[in-house]
């Protein structure tokens, strides 16, 4: 891959996905694009990129974009988040919603481990939930929808007891049981796009997404998240992610890493 190709990939990722493809990921990018080129019927990555630049961004462009996103995820990643969710937030929200399902959005859910982890926490807490998992990557969503994980994936973050309780074994795969699947719905969404309907959520998870984003796009994404969140809702970012100058829409909750609520300004603006 030539430096020019990499530059163009960088700007493609920034403009279409808001993703910051840093220069140290050049080797990784080449490695990830090999299988895409083979799948799409190109001899080499260079040939595929040549074809990409010659045409408007369509299916091939999106296949390339999704291969370069960061798919890293695991079950119950940052365990305190799920303890807070199941032990405090969901019971309180459930009471406030008087038995109506609490609506949760897992934004940037990758291969689904996060929405399933939310579902397990909710079912354990006896809190009715409707979970929507969205991601930019169709391939990641295809896997998420199967609810099937390898032995390697399933035990990264899950205790064996939890695994046996919520997943069924089929050959080498562990598959989410129907009770779990009944709570989660998957859809493709680009976090750069402003909401086009008025669906709102009580809880939004958008963890380890903003840190990979082009700083110029963070405000836009946070504004879109704010518009999707009810006024008394909460937002989870990764435990080390900060908002600081990116947005005035949210303020951090003291003593709860990664937990944010709407700032009074944002609530007033909505009213």
């Amino acid at each position: 891959m030539s430096p020019e190709d990499f530059d163009r990939l960088q700007s493609l990722m920034a403009s279409r996905a808001g993703f910051r493809l840093t220069r140290d990921r050049m080797k990784l990018a080449e490695h990830r694009l090999g299988p895409v080129a083979r799948r799409e019927g190109f001899e080499t990555v260079d040939a595929m990129l040549g074809s990409l630049w010659a045409k408007p961004v369509a299916t091939l462009g999106w296949s390339i974009i999704e291969a370069l996103l960061n798919p890293e995820t695991w079950f119950r990643r940052d365990r305190p988040t799920f303890d807070t969710l199941g032990g405090e937030l969901l019971p309180a929200l459930s009471r406030a919603r008087t038995g109506q399902p609490v609506r949760v959005w897992s934004a940037g859910c990758s291969t689904g481990q996060e929405p399933w982890s939310i579902a397990m926490a909710a079912l354990d807490a006896g809190a009715p939930v409707e979970i929507v998992g969205t991601d930019l990557s169709q391939r990641a969503l295809e896997k998420a929808r199967t609810g099937a994980y390898t032995g390697f994936e399933i035990q990264r973050g899950l205790k064996a007891e939890t695994m046996l309780r919520w997943f069924e074994q089929a050959d080498d795969a562990w598959i989410a049981k129907p009770q779990l699947r009944a709570t989660v719905h998957f859809a493709r969404a680009n976090l750069l796009d402003a909401p086009t309907d008025d669906a709102r959520f009580d809880v939004i998870f958008c963890r380890n997404v903003l840190d990979d984003m082009d700083p110029a796009r963070r405000t836009q994404v946070l504004d879109n998240l704010e518009r999707r969140l009810v006024d008394d809702g909460v937002l989870f970012l990764g435990p080390d992610e900060r908002i600081e100058g990116d947005s005035v829409a949210f303020r951090a909750v003291a003593g709860r890493r990664g937990l944010f609520v709407k700032s009074p300004t944002a609530v007033r603006r909505a009213a």
């Binding site: 035990q155 899950l158 205790k159 064996a160 007891e161 046996l164």
Partner: protein, 125 residues
């Protein structure tokens, strides 16, 4: 003040697995001892009870399940967090190990991230 390091006993008949697991577990700040089968492990535990035991299932002399059942009858035998760590991946065998008193279960092959997350789940780190 010097803190006493936490202790982990690795029980596996494969020297290579013991070596791999030792490197990961030492990385988590544990002092590690090794045993090559259940009988060696039981003798070790009768002397000093470790805080965590990483336990293979199929071993010569005494297998992991037999070791676990005997361990849990020893004075202080309920103390160690026991993580089975084996090639056996059938759901019913995993359930059997858990009901015999294992705190968690690691299916081989595993890596550092899996082992670390398992230690965290049983509250060992």
């Amino acid at each position: 003040m010097k803190l006493t390091p936490r202790t982990c006993l690795i029980v596996d008949d494969s020297r290579i697995i013991r070596k791999v697991a030792r490197r990961i577990v030492e990385g988590l700040g544990f002092e590690v001892d090794e045993a090559a089968d259940g009988s060696e492990a039981l003798a070790f535990c009768a002397g000093v009870m470790p805080e965590v035991i990483l336990l293979d299932w199929s071993m010569p002399v005494m297998d992991g399940l037999t070791f676990l059942r005997r361990l849990r009858t020893l004075p202080d035998g309920a103390v160690p967090k026991v993580l089975f760590c084996t090639i056996e991946t059938r759901a019913e065998r995993i359930a059997e190990a858990l009901s015999a008193g294992a705190d968690d279960y690691v299916m081989k092959p595993f890596d550092g991230e899996i082992l670390t997350s398992k230690f965290a789940e049983v509250g060992a780190v």
